[in-house]
Symmetry: C3
Subunit: 138 residues, 3 copies
């Protein structure tokens, strides 16, 4: 397993971590299987979306803020970040990606984004590979 | 594979099943790999979120009810539970979690929640492990 | 790995691909493990939901259109399909399903849906299996 550190700078922010995930995969060295990108946080997420025009992730953040504003009169959680928790559960806190010939089988326009919903914070991302190639015998 | 039974008591409810999932993993006995928690239902979900303050999941349910009310004039599904179906697809019906040294690599504040969106019902949860350690040769 | 082609006919559309995914699995031939259904697109998704009454997926699409309308004054992405991108990240672009005795462990009412959010287009779906049975030794 490899760990990626991510320093976020805003309350809400999407950060492209594709290159760091691919570097972690190369470090592990597997060639075929399934890549798991998992975070141990409850106010952040991981998603895959367009990496070409930065306005895409900007619009995604604007829409999430419209759908799930920071404050609701019915919120009871004492930390005041319930909106961040719901965003995490809707976007999800992990993605799994096929691994083919040592590289993630991402589409041409796909990037992996760390989704900060309660920053700025120092975060970490776990990268694991479940290999599907024949394993050495025990 | 192990099956966990969950009895829900409300129409909408989040139930912490972390201990039951870990017990199922210990029963299976694998040490390294990926844990799949999957449900065979279409009006329920599985998510990972904060397990410390119960107001977090309460606020999540309140927000989901605001975003996706039970009734819409345009709903056509005869069972009247279309809101439950959408919640299931947005939250998701499975999670995958890295398995390290026989335990799920959950963060300190992370719990696995069964999300009932059309209860009360008797539900079941499937726990599978895809091992990444060397397997016995055939 | 197997690739499924999907021709969509509308801007927004859910298409049941369960039989095609099962056929791809049979082609691969594994019996036990985890099935990954992954798409390389950023304006489409994959979800599991009810396959009995077609009004369920119709109501899901109506609700998504209400929550995330096609146009917002704050959208900046020049292609004008930011709503499609957010739907993709909320629904998710992959599902993982336990494989038992060569078949997906789907519930009686569960179908796998390709979710077109920016059609009509010709799309593709990747089907991979991570086997959990003992593998041949190297």
């Amino acid at each position: 397993m490899e760990i990626i550190r991510v320093q976020t700078c805003s309350k809400n922010e999407l950060i492209d971590i594709t290159d760091q995930v691919q570097a972690a995969i190369s470090e592990i060295g597997s060639q075929e299987g399934l890549v798991s990108v998992f975070i141990q946080h409850t106010t952040a997420g991981v998603t895959i979306n367009e990496n070409a025009d930065p306005d895409v992730v900007r619009d995604i953040l604007s829409d999430l803020a419209r759908l799930i504003p920071e404050n609701q009169s019915y919120y009871r959680h004492f930390e005041g970040n319930s909106a961040s928790h719901l965003k995490a559960s809707l976007v999800g806190i992990s993605v799994t990606i096929p691994l083919v010939s040592g590289r993630m089988a991402l589409g041409r326009w796909q990037g992996i984004y760390f989704c900060e919903f309660d920053g700025p914070r120092t975060r970490s991302v776990m990268v694991n590979i479940i290999p599907s190639e024949p394993l050495p015998r025990v």
